[in-house]
Each structure stands twice: as structure tokens, then as C-alpha cells.
Subunit: 193 residues, 2 copies
Amino acid sequence: MKPIGPVNALYPMPTTLVGALVNGRPNFLAVAHVGILNHGTPQYLSIGLHKSHYSNAGIHANRTFSICLPDESLLVETDYCGIMTGKKTDKAALFDVFYGELETAPMIRECPVNMEMKLHDVLDFETHDIFVGVLVQTFAADEVHREGVIDIARLKPLLFDMASKQYWALGTALGQCWGAGKALKRRAAPQET
Amino acid sequence: MKPIGPVNALYPMPTTLVGALVNGRPNFLAVAHVGILNHGTPQYLSIGLHKSHYSNAGIHANRTFSICLPDESLLVETDYCGIMTGKKTDKAALFDVFYGELETAPMIRECPVNMEMKLHDVLDFETHDIFVGVLVQTFAADEVHREGVIDIARLKPLLFDMASKQYWALGTALGQCWGAGKALKRRAAPQET
């Protein structure tokens, strides 16, 4: 256990396609520097975008954006949206684009899940805009949810790791949250059993 | 593709053990509502903690915390740290605890990677404190990195999904970031090849 310098190891993260309306046209950007801020209603999520990106102005202007979740089958399209800039390329032409109630947050019908976000706040970091959004509506393909509960094994999210510069698949379920630890609780305090 | 209500589907997220010194003693809390805010130096990361948690006061007081990354082998201990409260339980007794240069951010020798964080800001949400930290130092076991580049396949992170209430393993590498999309670039613009 040695110090290796301030290396960010908080990976993998879900790879997303962030949608914004920029100069009146939909654009999509690959973003994996995302965050879940709280747990509840309203639900706040964050995306961190370098200020050089084309989409930032559109999010500032419309105060809306989307977080679309591509699955494994969209790896090439997703990566393409991470390589190309909307300044020069119509990336939305790759997809069947649709809109929800916010009307200015473009989403992708090919993505199994899309989240429509209203801008809540912007954290102005030196090189990045951190857009904090409120989740307004989620759109999901029938195949990946049952009564609104997402089945992540069917979703097949595309995970991102910076160190390997690879997309990764989700593996197998390992154990129950708020359950597996009870064994240790019993061991630590046998009088409670 | 139908609306299912504002369901947060931004999973899986890395499961972490957040360390804090509370009332002079180390405490660890399971946290998967985390975020990567920017990419660069300084590197900012966020953790979202419900205000009812025992650790929040310690992070406010010392302005330091740690983000420790348990691997699959620590599933039971990690879940235990998510079930039990530091108010009543000495969860640090489970681990070989060490400190880095900040001196008040307890870390776990059994975790293959530990990140030492200095508090940068707190976003005061109604029910949650969102602690934004600056990454000061990363400690990694020899087995999971080569010259400071983490090997995520060896790290075997414990991923969290809220819908299934399960911990999940990382799967296989699927393709190259900033590489796989080039095929589409060539297809879209064959004159460039």
C-alpha cells in the first residue's frame, strides 16, 4: 500500500450520452464523469463537461439536458460521439431523436433508458462546467424494466474506465445490499440471534 | 420507449467505503452515490451523504475524508458498513486502519485502493450533504497498479445497483475508448481515408 500520487480511481462509471439542443439542433456528447448527488425526490444528478465542449452553451441557454444510457450494442456510436465535435459533425443524425415534456432535451430512441433533466445549478470550476440537474422524467424500453424497476442485467450498460481507456461490460450479481453484511452482524453480536 | 416517472437509472456506481474521523475515532460508511466532477489536477470528487449519518459531523469538523475502494472479497464487510451506524458500532475494528498526510482521513489497508480527500466545498441539499473533495493522495496495493496506472480487472471493484439492491462484479473489456468510434468516422466520411 504505497502512495502513487493523486490518481483518480473512482471507476468504472456509467458511460452516458448527454443530449442538448445547441443553436436549435440536437447534439450528443459521450460523458462518463457523472455523479449521483442524493437519493430521493427531487433526484439530483451531475455531469462534468470541459468548457471547450460544444454542448455547454446549449445547456446554459435552454437550462435542460438529457442523460441517455447506451447499451453494449451502441459502443461504436457512443465512442463516435466522444471523438467527434458537434461544432463540425451532426452526431444526432446517427439516432432516432425524440423529446419529452421539457421539449429542449433531445433523447435517443436506440438507448434503452433516457433521463430528462432540468438544470438546477452550475458549479463553475476552472476548466469544467459541472451541470447539476433535477431528474424530471425517465423513458425506458419495455425490455429493460418491469413496472418502472430497471433490470440492469437486461440494460447491459457500457461502463468506462479511464486507466485502461476501455469500455467494460457489467459482470454478475455478487450479493445482496443491506443483506450480505448481516452475517457479520450476527458474528459480531451473537447474543442478538 | 415510455415514461416511467423520474427513476434514477445512473447505475452501476462504484461502491466505496468513506472514511472519516468522528469524535476522534475512525468510522467507515458504505457510499455508492458518488461522482467524478472534472478531469484534471486538482481532481474533484463528490460523495452524497444523507444528513442523518454519523460521519457528516466529522467531515465538517476535520475538512478531510477518504474514499476507499473495497474489492469483491470485502463484500460482506462493506455491506456491514452500510447496515450498521458508527453511533453504536466500532466499524473500524474490522480493518487495519492507516492515515496519510492529512492525518485525519482514515483509510483501510485491506482495500486495494484508497483516496485521501481534502474538503473543498459542501453543497447543502435539503436531506443530503454533498461533500466535494480534492484528491490529495492515492494509496494502492502493488498488485493492482503498474507505475501508478490502476488495473481495474485486478482491482475487482464492487459495483452497486439500486434497482436490484445487489452488488455486481465488473465484466469483460468491450472495446477501446477514443478508438472504436473511428470505424464510424471512416464510414461517415470515406473521403478522409
